[in-house]
Structures are given as C-alpha cells and as structure tokens.
C-alpha cells in the first residue's frame, strides 16, 4: 500500500536523523563550556592549554562580547555556558548588573593589578579584569605622508581639515570600543566640550563602522588614514609589518578592562572555578602574546609582552567604570550622540 510505504519511510527517516543529532550537550564530569570573547587564536590557546593541564574537556565558542551578552540573556532561563572569558568589560558589567553572572572570589586576587580588582568590586564580585588595553588611534604612515601632514599625536590633531573623510571609528551603538571612546572624551573634556569635539570630528569621519576593531584594519590597508581603536588592535597590524603606527593621544585617554565572569547557573560550576583560578595565573596570561594579542595582563607577576603598548608611559584618565558602565548612563549618552552628532551634515 502506497500510503503505508510512505509513512514507514518518512517515520524511519525522521527517527534516524533525530537520533543522530540530538546528542544532548555533554554534562559528564570533566567538561567545561566556555564562551570566549577575544580573537580565535588566543581563545584556542587558552582552551587547549587548560585541557592539557587539567584533563577537563573544554567546549569553546568564540563570539564578540555583545553577542555573548545577547546569548546569556536569551539563555538565562536555562544557562548552557559555564564561563565567559574575555571581551571588553562593559557587557560583563551589564551582565553582572542584571544578575546573569555569579559572584566569585579567587585566591589569586591578591596578585591582581588594582584596575582588575576595581572592576571586580564594581561588579559586586561578579566579574574580574584579566587584561587592559588603552584607547588610541592608528594611522597609515603612507597616507599621512602623502597628505603632507605631521604625524598625529593628540585627539586635537584629528580635527585637521586635511583629514576630511579620512578618519574612521565604530558606531558607539554597535561597538563597545566606540562607546569607550565616547565615554573617554566625555570624561576627558567634560560633557559639553566633549560633544563639541565629537561634532567637529564628525566632519572628518568617513564612516562609522560596525565592528570596533575594523578601523585598524582599514588603516592598515590604506582604506582610511586614521582609525580610532584600542591601541593593541593597531599593534597587531604593525607587528605584521603593515604601514600603521599606533598612538596614545597626548591629552590623555581611557582604557578597557577585558573581563571574565562565571555564568549564573553554570552546570559545571567547579570546573568553571578551576578555569577562573587558572586563567589568573601568570602562565595562563602569558599565552596572549604568542597568539598575537598585545594587551596588558592583570596579574602583577605576568610578563608584559614587549610589543604591548606601555600603559605606564601613557596619560590615562581615571575611567569611571561604575558610572559609564551602568545601563542608565549608557542609554543617556548613546541617545544624546544619536540626536546631536550622528544626524549632522558633513
């Protein structure tokens, strides 16, 4: 009978595909689900080294910090991840504020830099700083020479009329890097003067990119003369030999604190804590430089990679992570920027 055959065939097919693909995520002891917020190579180095040293099987997914935050929020009723390692600090703070991550105090806290512990305190022990990177810009040396400009050294230099349509920065609505810049300028110059600066800069911006690090890439390729990014993002291309030079602005600048949090309701809580403790050790933090990541590590005893921008030689502002990381202030600043800066004619 035809109908019979059809039914049997389809039922078998459904069962077979179903059975093959619903192996529920591994829960067995000795596993850890890691959401990783830095670049792939570093993520991979962290997960494989931890796996080698402890025998705990790490299932690692790499996503941007914003994507991980969105995923945590979506999964909050039934968390899948155990640890969220890396990525800029703001979404970590936001997740802490919303109770998506949980408190933890590691024995390694005593070896941490002050900025790392400041982040930990700001988040009520829910997230801790693992690396820091200062904000700045990278410029394409060939393009600047062609334009007959002196090498830009300060925020003010970026307002030069010769740089019209030749500066890139990400859109603060989509990028944590650009929000960090917005908050930095406001803290550095005061809100009114800061917004005046951003309005003046708007005339020179060719494009507000989506991703925070994209302007560095564009500057290294010569698609733009100047890209406002975290300095370590520009250093990556300079180390590769691209014609790009990284600058810490002379007026002073802000910084990000890359963070780590344990996800609330983690199914492998003990392993998450083991990873947390391990990730704060100097040995684990030394994995960054070989993976082409030149941030400053948070453990006082960790070796700072020689290529890393020297934070001690920069003029850093006293960045208020509590105030500018809160969702109320963020929404206010972003709305103001959307109204007063973005719609302006060039």
């Amino acid at each position: 009978m035809q109908g019979y055959q059809w039914l049997r065939a389809s039922a078998l097919a459904m069962l077979a595909t179903g059975a093959a693909f619903v192996a529920a995520p591994a829960q067995a002891q000795g596993s850890l689900v890691m959401y990783c917020g830095v670049q792939e190579e570093w993520c991979r180095a962290m997960s494989t080294t931890f796996e080698k040293e402890t025998g705990i099987k790490v299932a690692m997914t790499r996503k941007s910090a914003g994507e991980i935050y969105a995923q945590l929020k979506a999964e909050s009723a039934n968390p899948r991840g155990d640890i969220w390692w890396g990525g800029t600090g703001d979404p970590h703070l936001q997740a802490a504020e919303e109770g998506l991550t949980q408190e933890y105090e590691s024995a390694a806290n005593k070896d941490m830099q002050d900025w790392s512990l400041a982040q930990w305190r700001a988040a009520q022990k829910r997230t801790i700083g693992i690396y820091a990177g200062a904000l700045g810009f990278g410029f394409n040396t060939q393009q600047i020479k062609q334009k007959g400009l002196a090498e830009p050294k300060c925020w003010a230099d970026l307002l030069d009329a010769k740089l019209k349509d030749d500066v890139q920065v990400a859109d603060p609505n989509s990028s944590g890097t650009a929000y960090n810049m917005l908050a930095t300028i406001v803290q550095l110059m005061g809100e009114d003067k800061g917004f005046d600066y951003l309005k003046a800069l708007h005339k020179n911006i060719s494009q507000y990119t989506k991703s925070g690090a994209a302007p560095a890439k564009a500057a290294s390729l010569g698609e733009t003369a100047v890209g406002i990014v975290f300095i370590h993002d520009a250093v990556v291309f300079a180390v590769q030999g691209d014609p790009i030079k990284a600058v810490a602005p002379c007026e002073g600048t802000g910084y990000e604190i890359g963070s780590m949090s344990i996800i609330k309701g983690a199914r492998n809580l003990d392993n998450a804590k083991k990873f947390y403790d391990w990730a704060l050790t100097p040995a684990a933090q030394a994995l960054a430089a070989p993976a082409k990541s030149y941030q400053v590590p948070s453990n006082k005893n960790a070796v700072v990679p020689p290529q890393a921008p020297k934070m001690s030689e920069m003029k850093l502002i006293n960045y208020d992570f509590v105030k500018y990381g809160s969702s109320a202030e963020r929404t206010r600043l972003l709305t103001k920027w959307d109204k007063e800066v973005k719609p302006l004619p060039k």
Binding site: G18, A19, A70, A77, R80, D171, K210, L221, P345
Partner: protein, 737 residues
Amino acid sequence: MRPVTRFVLLLGWLGYAIIPWYLPDGMSLTEFGWLAGYPFGKAGSALALALSGTAPWLLPIGALLVLATLQLGRSNAASVGRILIGAGLAGLALFFAQGFAITLKGQGLPTLAALLGGGGADTAQGGMGFGAFLTVLSLLLLLCHGLAYRGICRGDIFTTSSIGIIVLLIGLFIFYPVITILRSALVDQAGAFAPAAFFERLFSASIWGLGCVTANTNCGVAWNTLILAVLTGVTTTLLGLACALLILRTGMPGKRVMRLLTVLPIITPPFVIGLALILLFGRSGLFSNLLYEWFAIPRSRWIYGLPGILLAQVLAFAPIAFLVLIGVVQGISPSLEEASQTLGAKRWATFSTVTWPLLKPGIANAFLLGFVESMADFGNPLVLGGNFEVLSTKIFFAVVGAAHNQGQAAVLAFVLLAFTLGAFWIQRRWLGGKSYTTVTGKGDSGLPTPLPRRVTWLAGLVIVPWVSLTAVIYLVILVGGFVKTMGRDYTPTLEHYKTGFSIDFSRGLYFDGSAWNSFFTTIKLAAISAPLTAIIGLLTAYLLTRQRFSGRHLLEFATMLSFAIPGTVLGVSYILAFNVPPIEITGTGLILVITFVFRNMPVGVRSGIAGLSQIDKSLDEASTTLRARSFTTLWRVVLPLLRPALVAALIYSFVRSMTAVSAVIFLVSAEYNLSTAYIVGRVEAGEFGLAIAYSSVLIVFMAAGIGLIQLGVGERKLGRRVAAPVAATPAPAPAIG
C-alpha cells in the same frame, strides 16, 4: 480501520509506552548510562511515569490512545472517523497544554499545570524527547486519518496527513518563535507591557527620516532598505532572465562556462564577494591603484554604501534569479510559439505576445526572491555598508551592539516583515488568476524558437560585463589564498592553507588544521538538511497548487514568513523559544538543521509552485481517473516533471546551509561550529588570507556537491525534439525511486 491507521497507532504506542519520553542529559547511542532506572526515572517511558505517579498529567493522553485503539476492528468509516478526530484533537490539546504549562520550576503556566494534575509552579519536566515526538506525531496522524475517513480532501489520507504535518511543523518552527520575538516588541527594557514605547520606536526618524532628500544627511533605514531591495530585485531578475534566454535559446558559444560562472556566486560564502570588491575597488584596491597611476583618477570610497552593496548583492543573487528562470524558460512549450509563427507572427511578435507573458510567473518569483534576499542580506551590508544602514544590520546591532535593545530589534523586524509581505501581496495581485500552463499531456513536440536578434544583442550586452566581473572576482579569491597579503605583498605562500587544512600523518590520519572541525560539521548538517528542505518545500508547493482546502492561503503566507524574517531575528527567536522545555534543542545539531530547513523551505516552495503552475492539471486528473492515489500521482507523474524545481531546491538549500551566517551565528555551539561563523571570526581578526583560503575550499567543495546532485537527479524528459544532436542535454541518470 485501514492498515495504515493501525501502523500509526503502533507508532503512538511505541512512543508512549516504550521509548523514553524526555530528552535525558548526556544521551548517546554508544554509551547507555543515561538509561539507568528505565522504564522509570529520567529516561522513563510516558506510561511508566504516568502510572507511577511521577507525571500523572501524561495519563489522559494514554487514555485517548486506548480510545483510538478500541476502534481497531470496526469498519464503519464515518463513526471511526468521528472518534479518531475527537481522540486526535483532544490528545494534541492535552499534549501541548502539559508541554507549555509544565516546564522549568517557577515557569510555565502554574494554574493550568495544577489543573492538569501537577503541583502548580513547583512541578517541572525536561525537554520533550523521542517518545513524546512519536506520540504527538501519531495523535496528529490519527486526527488527519479521521478527517479523511469523513471525506475531507476526497477522503485521501496522504493529502490530509501531509497538510497536518506541514501545519504542525510550520506552527512549531515558524509561528511559535516569531510570536516569541515579536512579543518582545511590545515590552520595554524591564519586561513590562508598553505599547506607547512600541509606537514611539516604530515612527522614529531613524527609520522613516527623509534627510537624504531634504538635507545633506542620511535617509531613514527603512527607505534605504526599500530602495536597495527594489534595485537589487529588478537588476537580478533582468540579468537572470537574459542569461536564461541566452543559454536556452541561442547558439551562443561558451554556454557551459557561462552556466558554471553564473552559479559560482551562490556557492560563495558571505563576506567574500564584499571582501573581493574592496580588494578590487576599495581606495587602495587593485583597480583604483591602476586608475590612479595610469589616468590620475583620484581614489575614492564609492564602494562603501549603496553602489557597493548593490553590486555585491547583484553578483550574489542574480544566479538565484537565473536558477528560477531557467526552469521556467525550459518549461515554456515550444508548440505555442510554433503556433504563433505558423500564424505568420515575426520572431519579435512571438516573443512579446507569447513567450514574454508566459514568463511572467517566473519573473515575479525571481523578483520576489531578489527583493527578499536583499532585505535579509546581512554579510554584504556589514562589509560594504559604510554609512548606508539597512534594516538587517541595524537589527543585528540592536541585539548584540552596545545598546542591547531587543525591543528596538523587534520593531525593526516588524517593519522588515511588512515590506516583504507587501511585496508578496503585490506579486499575487499582478499575476492574478491567469493560467500559465504549458506542459500538458497532449502531444507536444515543437522546437524552441530562437530569440529575436534584438533581444539576443541586448542580453549579450548585459551579460558579458557581468560574467567578466564575476571571473575577475573569483580570480582575486583564488589568488588571495596563495599570496601573503592581498593588496600589498604578493609573495606566493601556502601558509594560509596549512593553518586551516593541514593533515598530520605521523599519528595516523589526524586532521590538524584549525578549519577541519567546522568544515566537517557544516557539510554534515547541510547534507542532512538539503533533502529534508526539498521534500517539505515541494510537498507544500504541491498542496498549495493542487489541493483545495480551507486555510490554503494562510499556509502559503506562513511559508513566506520564515523567508521574510531576517536571519538574525530568527536566530535570536530560536534561542528564546527552544532553549527551554518543551522543546529544548539549543546547542544541538538538530536546531541548526531545523533552522536551515525552515529558512530555505520557501525556495523549495517557490520553485515548486513556479514549476507546478506550468504542468497541466489534466495530467494529475488522468492519473486520478486511473485510480491512482495522490501519493502515486505525486510520485510517478508530478515529481518526474518537477526535476528542475527539485534540483533547484536541493542545490539551493545545500548551498545556503553552507553559506548561512546571520541565522546561525547565535546558534552555533562549541560542538557544532560552522564554517561561516569561523570565517567571520577570521575576517574580524583581519586574517583575510585564511578567510579567503577557507572560502576557496568551500567553493570548490560546493561546486562538486552541485555537480553530484545534478548528476543524481538528472533533467526531466519532456519528449521534445532537440535541434541538433550536439546540443543534446547530458544523459539523465537512471530515474530515482
């Protein structure tokens, strides 16, 4: 009761009494530790759990199965039908009531849970598993069989069952997640109901502003998207049509090469065309450099914005229009054109009065596809957008960006949905109720008319630049994988391929490269979802065009819905909907397969409908008159004639699964990572070399896959004369089935 209904009952009992009802943690087919305690405990069957009092709310479902089983020996179709309908309906209602009422602790619907025999908010159950799946399938089929017994759809069990299954699938995997996400459009950040905020967001200037007309600023994102989509739809349709006509109707040389070239862009992972365009036309791109050095034309950034996105989308989507239109052009019966010429019409008159009107459904479909694809496209606007914002990227960054505004994303999704559905409606109005049938059961042995010369020239004029540009782009992609840094350092190197695809033979065969894992996963999932998509899509198309039942238009609308929903929104809504019981499948391969199937199904449906509208109903009727059931008619008459549509659906869903980004970027997990997610990561990190190398590997692989599918399915044989033996189509492989 017919034997097939008995089989359905058996399935139901299997699911209810024997197979584990829930999806237990750590389930696998090689280790059986998770079965501990069977038939009770976590892996218990519904019957055991209900009788032992662990899950008393499952008992009534069993009772309904008993009721249906009592009808086994009876033969009065009408009264058996009535009881089956009742049992099926009540069973489904109870099943979904308990599934949604009793989920995690403190969630679900406590009042309903208490009513069903649970303890209110305190009872909990995990995600539904195979037992539950079989039981609900059986209940649904019992209902459908009952309806057939009562004479619905001419008493055809196959038809009612297909409708039932498709309605259930669409309800679960399209409507349910979409409702979940749209619900968040109506609440504020804190989760309270706020319709005022909804309207404020909906009518904001950032969506509808007209700054590009009135002042020197940017227009609203809605206008941008609309303009881009219309331009892309029109351009791709014209290109696809020109190409299809040239290939099928002229003696143009190099057809084979052109056919290959036009298919290439579809098998290209997103970002890559945009990337290649930047490397060619960007400010320090290859062409821009040449123009600057030879003609002193200043470098500009024109590629970032509308022109660049349009170019990339046309390159990417014209082949889709081509795939749709070639099936239609092939299906136009030459005897109609011959009749026109016999009556003394010139070539041009024949083309404009016979061929062109018959092309209309294909053109409408191709335009709709281009339009909707452009609206949902995410990769190209991301790379080339500049300050030109479109809805899809704006939605993505509303979800993942620094603002974290899910409500805003839902409102934007709402606007996007309105556009795509509007296009769908206009298309229906345009086609009206005219007949486009050309493949009939009557003798049909004309020769295709060659194109009028004017049309040939025009088509050639459009196509040659397009094909050459495509060729150049692929050259860049190919070369890019083998040089150090495209655009600056052209030292040849194999380094990128080594990083991604090295194989270590020292410890046996060990896939060492960093790309292998995602590569294998992607192939596996795409290969599974392609046939499923084709089956479900064509079956739906068949039901929509060949069967009369109430709610047909609603079904058609529903299939379009998943296409109209941008991938990003679908991805987030899938997480929201399927991360908690009753359907708890995030982090598995299954959710990726389901995403692929329901994202790509509309293509199967569209190409099926376009193909079916050309096949005369008299063929089906002849088959029915000879007492074949609808399944037999479908299998032996319609399906063989639908081969081009089937090929299009298979190819397209396979390829789209392999190149999808926006829908899956939230759904990939550590265990199931996909190529595209990996490539996006490489692009983000600035490792263009590895990204391009990986893309080349994917392109080669997919080209091979397409070749295999085409070889396996073959072309339909329409019994038409062929102009010359040289131009014969490739010999069809033995018919499947």
